[in-house]
Structures are given as structure tokens and as C-alpha cells.
Amino acid sequence: MFNLLMKDLLIQKKTLGYLLFYIPILLLVFTSTSMEGDIAVVLYATSTCFIVYLLIAGACSYDEQNRSEVFLNSLPIRRKDIVFSKYLSILVYAVFGLTAGILIALIYNVLGLGEPVRYPAVKDLFGALCGAIIIGAAYYPLYFKFGSIKTRLLHVIVIMAIFLIPAGLVWLVEKYSQGTAVNLLTQVLNSPDWLWAVGCGVVIVTILLVSLAGSLRIYENKDIS
């Protein structure tokens, strides 16, 4: 699995080089955004999600362009290991993304471009990791089923659905529901941070496991041609 992970990094050596150019761009976007409150959370989550998506889509795209699934599956490798390595890569890419976020914060603070941005705390790491997992969990089953090109479109739809459906449900409950549902929603929204973290953790792990199981099922039964 480690070898497959290294393979995904090696085939993206150019993209990894380009990341150095993305950092000033992200910095520019970040400094031109006038946001109130704790902007560090947004910085670390954004840089992580952006880079995770870029590297996931890049590795899959290289595999598809070169039709490399044929040679990979002719090597002594189990299909499930190919799937596991893709999911494991989410973590590695998240580390790259977070590092980029820290570099941006560092440059921002050293150059004194605004109010100093704090360096990542546990909640930032947690938020960035949740974002990375959602992106990967939505991407891989689609990729294994439909290939890279269709997935780029479908992935946007799935990600929007993941973020918009809960927000939509909250809006619907607030607008049309009364009594128990509103009370329940108020209780949830006013829950302490630790409860939110546990709740989010459970949801994210569930999404990850469902996605992994789906990818394994799809890829184990796929005809590689």
C-alpha cells in the first residue's frame, strides 16, 4: 500500500512543484477577503480541502490518461489495496494542505499583512481533516465507478449536496416546523463544542466507511479494460 501511495506522489511530482505557486495565490485570495471572526479556521480548512482535491483528482486523472489500471492490476497487487491506498492518500494530501495553510499564515504574519493569524489548534486540524475526508469520500466511489472525467462534474454535485442538504434541513425546520422539531434543533445548535466534535466525528467516520465499502465493492467487481 505504501508503494502505491509513493506511486501517486511520484506521478504528481510536477503538481507538487506547482503547489509552491499556489501558496502565493491562496495568500492573495486570503488577504483580499475581508472576514470577521476567527479566520484561521477558514484558512486551514480551505487550503487543506483545495490541495486535497487537487491531488486526488490529479492522481486519478494521471491513472486514467495513461490507462495505467491495466498494468497496475497486472502486478501482484490486490484490488482492495489499490482502493485502501487511495483512501490513505487523503491523509497524506491533508498534511500537504495543512502545511500550505501554515506557510500562508507564516508569510502573512511575517509580512504584517493584517491582524496576526494564529497557528493551527486542534479544532483547526479537526476541521481540515473532516473537510479532506468529505472530499475524498465523495470522490473515490464516483471515480471507481465512472472514471475521472465524469467524476469531476458529479463530485461538485455530491459535495454541494453534502453541505447544502443539512443547511437546507435546518432552514426547513426553522421555517415550517414548530414545537418539538424547533426545540430539538435549538438544542443541537446550542450544544457544547465537545458534543459537536463527537457528532461531526461520528458522521464523518460513517461517511468514510460507507464510501470505502462502496469503492471496494465497485472496484472488486470492475472489468479493467
Partner: protein
């Protein structure tokens, strides 16, 4: 156990095409040519052997092991060369090796370097900058560097110039000097097999036509040439395929002795090449477009 590859009643169905109960075996130390026209099912069979696609029914044993249940062990000992390039174009020969080598426990860097030198492949060259022939050679280097016992080659000579083709065939002959190794080579260029194959497996439209030793085939099959007045409808049925023109007929028989009994000295009987066997079998009794 001498069988290195056993395929029994292999079936795979697609919309509009099916591979229907294909069976053949290959023993250690031999080269088997796998022939058939385009679309006959050669690549499908190879993909089933490599477990790239799922079989509907049947059995494939490589080194006496089921190719699905013992997939890793089987693939450790298999080498493959495909007709298209599947390596990463942006990587160099050396980088590609770095990706592949860790997957094989028997990988031998010394052998890899020796073959690179022998084939004049630069380790620093990118895959995209290699010619088709060089890409094929690189695939072969990879297959040979982990001491594969069975080489599976899918149309390796298509699109190559005669010098490259001849060089490849020489290498394959050299490989089976080690009697524990075998080569399974699919092609529609039958002249390659005339030179090197020990056994021929012929499939057409997903059906097995025959699997026999090449020498026996050459002794059994023949081209019968004679005047049209010698033929009637019953005698035409004796041929695998027949071409007729106003000058006479040429028919392929799968039994030279019977043809001699039937026609005596009134016809000319010549040896048939693998190309003749394939052409007449595929075309059957259909009129030849060029006649």
C-alpha cells in the same frame, strides 16, 4: 505437473460477443501462439487470465493454481507485455522501474540493468519519448527482471518494423531455453509464429477452433489446388474453406491423407501456412473478394 497454464471451459459474455467454453493447456518450456482475427476474443482471454476482467464460468490455472484464489502468487511469477503502453508517459524508465520493482519479491536490479543495456534503453528517457518498439522492449525488460516463469504477450509485434519483430522473436526463443519458462503469445501476424511457436491455439468468434502442436498442424493441413470440374457439392464439404475462380479452386483441407484418397494425382497438394489455415477457416466457403 508440467502444465504451466490450463484454461478450461472459459466463458465470458458481453452484449454482442461471447467467449464460449474455451479450453487449452500450455506446458513448461514451450511457446504457444494464440491466433485469431481481430475481435476473435484473444485479448478478452488474456484479460481473463490476468484477472483484469471477471469470468462468467470456467477455470484458469496458472502454475497449477487458480488465477483468482491465488492471484498474488500467480502474478508474482507472471510477466506481461501488452499491445498498448500503460506506463506513465511523464515518468522516466528509471522512475517507472522504481514504482514497479517493490511489488515483486524476486525483482533483480542486475538483470534489469543488463537488459536496459542490451536493448539500448536509456534509464533517464521518459516513457513518452520512447518509440513503440522501445516501449515494447521496456515492457519486456520489466517482465524479465522479476524472473517470470510464464510470459504473456498480447499482440507485441503489431506495429513494429521487421527488425524489431525479429529481435523480439529471438529473445522469446532465448527465454524458453530455460525449460521451466513458457511463452503465451497472442498475435494475428502468423508469420511470427511460423518461426517460433511450438503450439498453436486458434480461436474465431469466441469459439476454439483448435489447440495443437504446430508440427502436427503443418502435417495435417494442406492446400489442395485443382480444376473446378473435380468438385461437386459433396466434395466441397470436405474442405475447411475453399476459393474458386474461373481457373480452378484452392481449398484448405484439415486431412491431407483423405484429400489424397479423394482426388489422387488429379490435384496439387501443398503445405499450408498458419496464415492459410487462419484465412480459410475464418472465411470458410465465402467467396474471396480478390478472386
Amino acid at each position: 505437473m508440467n502444465e504451466i497454464l490450463e484454461v478450461r471451459n472459459l466463458t465470458k459474455q458481453y452484449p454482442g460477443f461471447s467467449l464460449n467454453k474455451i479450453s487449452f493447456t500450455l506446458e513448461k518450456g514451450y511457446i504457444m501462439g494464440f491466433i485469431g482475427p481481430n475481435g476473435a476474443g484473444k485479448t478478452t482471454t488474456i484479460k481473463l487470465i490476468m484477472n483484469l476482467i471477471r469470468r462468467d464460468s470456467g477455470e484458469i490455472k496458472v502454475f497449477g493454481l487458480d488465477n483468482i484464489k491465488n492471484e498474488l502468487e500467480v502474478k508474482e511469477r507472471l510477466g506481461f507485455v501488452y499491445d498498448d503502453n500503460h506506463f506513465y508517459n511523464e515518468l522516466t524508465v528509471l522512475e517507472m522501474k522504481k514504482i514497479i520493482a517493490p511489488f515483486y519479491s524476486q525483482w533483480d536490479d542486475g538483470v534489469f540493468k543488463d537488459y536496459l543495456e542490451r536493448f539500448e534503453l536509456s534509464p533517464r528517457k521518459k516513457i513518452k519519448d520512447l518509440s513503440k518498439g522501445m516501449k515494447m522492449k521496456f515492457s519486456l525488460v520489466i517482465a524479465l527482471s522479476h524472473h517470470a516463469e510464464l510470459l504473456i504477450l498480447d499482440e507485441p509485434t503489431s506495429g513494429l518494423d521487421p527488425i524489431f519483430r525479429s529481435e523480439l522473436l529471438d529473445i522469446l526463443v532465448e527465454i524458453i531455453q530455460d525449460e521451466n519458462k513458457s511463452v503465451f503469445l497472442s498475435t494475428h501476424l502468423t508469420t511470427d509464429l511460423d518461426k517460433i511457436a511450438d503450439y498453436i491455439t486458434f480461436i474465431n468468434q469466441g469459439e476454439l477452433v483448435f489447440c495443437e502442436s504446430k508440427d502436427e498442424l503443418m502435417e495435417r493441413y494442406g492446400l489442395v489446388k485443382g480444376g473446378n470440374e473435380l468438385l461437386d457439392e459433396e466434395l466441397k464439404k470436405e474442405f475447411v474453406g475453399i476459393k474458386q475462380s474461373s481457373y480452378g479452386f484452392t481449398g484448405l483441407t484439415s486431412d491431407i491423407h483423405r484429400a489424397r484418397q479423394l482426388f489422387g494425382s488429379s490435384v496439387l497438394i501443398e503445405k499450408a501456412s498458419l496464415e492459410d489455415i487462419m484465412l480459410y477457416t475464418v472465411r470458410g466457403g465465402k467467396p474471396c473478394l480478390t478472386c
